[in-house]
Amino acid sequence: MSAAEAKHAGINLGDSDRETHEKAGSEIFGFWIFLMSDAVIFALLFATYGVMLRGTAGGPSAADEYRILPAFIETLILLTSSFTFGMASVAMKHGRGLRTVLAWMVITLALGLGFLAMELRDFSTMIADGALPSRNGNLSSFFALVPLHGLHVAAGCLWLAVMLVQVPCFGLDKRVKINLLRLGLFWHFLDIVWIAIFSVVYLQGLIR
């Protein structure tokens, strides 16, 4: 940071847009705090999943039912989408023009929707096989943790869609920029949560 010191963790706009940078300090910091609070929710759901691993009541466990290959592909899709969102952020920061920003955002949205579609298909095969959340505690905790992440991704996609309207509407004004920074944090956060889900839920299931 040469033009101004960092005001918050993550991408700072200091070098390219002083004015927004000044304002971003508390706005982005507040969003970080929100994410921390959200992280507590996920942490507790992970703990619950751990507690209920053995609560199968004679029925199937989540680990018996999910398929690892689709989950692995979903991981790749989500990680790629984080990369493409990163490109959108960089393009925004360095004033690469609306079209570049929009293009990266559209790609991200497509990847997000692809992830959701695949995930929904996974759930429906599980349910078709009789692995319903109402079957036992183990499946209940799986269907609280993983779909909650999915719900977050859906919210992120809706947010992206709204931003796809706002960027052409308002250009890259102060609020749009700050919102894109926030959405970026949200998107990367969901990535990290997914990595945790993939390792704790899916990979752990392979070991047993």
Partner: protein
Amino acid sequence: MNGAISPTILGRLEWLSLPFVRAWQNPTPDELIGAGAATIVVVGMAGTIALITALGKWRYLWRDWFTSVDHKKIGIMYVVLAFVMMSRAVVEGVLMRMQQATAINAPGIVEPDHFAQLFSTHGSIMIFFMAMPFLTGMINYVMPLQIGSRDVAFPLLNSISLWLTGGAAGLMMVSLVIGQFSTGGWSGYPPYTELEFSPDVGPDYWIWAVTLGSIGSTLSGLNFAVTIYKMRCAGMTMMRMPLFCWTTLCTSILMIFAMPPLTVATAMLALDRYLGFHFFTNDLGGNMMNYANLFWLFGHPEVYILILPAFGVYSEVVSTFSSKELYGYRSMVIATMSIAVMSFTVWLHHFFTMGQSASINAAFGIATMAIGVPTGVKIYDWIWTMFMGQVRFTVPMLYSLAFMMTFVLGGLTGIILAFPPLDYLVHNTLFLVAHFHNMLIPGLLYGMLAGYHYWFPKAFGFRLNEKWGQLAFGCWVVGFYLAFMPLYVLGAAGMARRTAEIFEPAFRPWLYVAGIGALILLAALVALFVQLWVSIREREANRVDAGDPWDGRGLEWSIAGPPPEYNFAVLPTVSGGDPFYTSKRNGDAYLPPERYENIEVPKNSVVGPLLGVFSAATGFALVWHMWWLAILGMLAIIITVIARSFIRDTHRIVSATEVERVDLAWRDKLFASRSISREMETTSANQGFAEVAA
């Protein structure tokens, strides 16, 4: 008259869901009390609406209050909400005491099921809709002024938090009129609150009211923390902040990290009840202990969320009314922070008896006792602050003193409960009820009342009546001791909490004393309302609009009372602790600014009220299984948020000339006031201009 009226539209609502219909069909005293309470709600609402309409005040209320995003107005609305809900919950507490006093080998006045609703609503309201709004309101009003800021970091979010809390409190009130409330206590333990044992709407009301309230509190905590980290005025380093700001910061951190466990617990319970999940059911792999852990992972930090702001108020009050710097400021800060951190390490003491090993119990017992240490440090600091000070026994100071003595007693019984072997003897008895009231009434209620008396002149420009204040204070203290000390005896003798009927005649005298105490507490509440009424009537005699009635120490006293919406005409710069007190001594307080500038303030917004109404409607719809309304409500919430993000015109400018005009008018008043000595601060000679001894 049985069965759902119209399942597609009204879900599972039946005629018998209405207490009036029940009382008509079956006019027992119990049903009549229920119908009476419902009538009070309906008549109260209708009366308020009629009154506002008759006075033609809707527009004023909507424009100046409901849609306002000014932290000061939001703070006041929170406190009003707290007083309304407190009135209901105190009456319920008194009713329970009357029940137990009359139900010794007799049925008493209410049925067991109704009694269970009483302790569930009383507890839930006192915690979530009296205590939380009260302290959130207090913080909202005071903290930004103390750190020299124009508002909180996210003014609109602040309004949204308020309205979510308001909507949740509305759900609590509606449960009196339509349907019934949970019988599962304020902690809502499954499996009792699962469908299997409580198929009625009660637990659903509890779930949605608590969920909305906890989301509101999480957002408030976030807002306050960012405000303190990012919005302090020039020179206001962390270690120069008034202690109230420190306790606010710690409370906010606790809100951010401790409210989510509650949200998770209630959401899982909802999944169990609505979608047949098995988190906490008896069968199919459910695990009730997980709920106990989640709930108390919230529940214990919660008690510090409640108590820390009161500690902050006491620090301000004791120092101001002793005319001395707070003794041991640094140790206070460290103690507050330690309490905040340690509060996450003790939750298990709420269920010592639920089956974990003795060594786990021992670890948590020791951790619990350790929290007593920083709290003790604080008590000594307050005592040393008063030592050799110019102590004045104003009403806030009286509350502080009563707190110091009473709270220590409660702390001692807390240490008793922290010993697992002793806890095995008295858990789930009235001993525990005595203990937590002994903590919460001095450690929360007295603190909030002290703050209310202390900052009221700042918020409204006139002082509260002292005589009525002292009377109310006397009733709170005497009533408290009479109502709750007997419960220690009863609890030690084995009387279980949440008992609707008593079969041990030896308990009679103690229950009578407690009943009388409860009536005195009711008198205390009434005295508070009379005080407010009297004070408003004689406000002209008690004006302190110069803004500094108590020779205050922090920046909040350096401006007019009530302050303009932008708080400070020019943002202050400070160079030490107790900045206003010091600058009065240095003779550089009240220096007129060199020049005035335009000030940007956020515009009012309907988003807060809309979200409050939509989310309460969604909650209500979910309670009654009116699926169409639930979907509509959620869509409305999403659309409102998205629509708001398209509004760009969110601020307006207060021009420099307007700022100058208001500031000069206040300065004229200030210099026309007579400065008074501390002896005269509770007389009408006090115009809010403190005499400074050279």
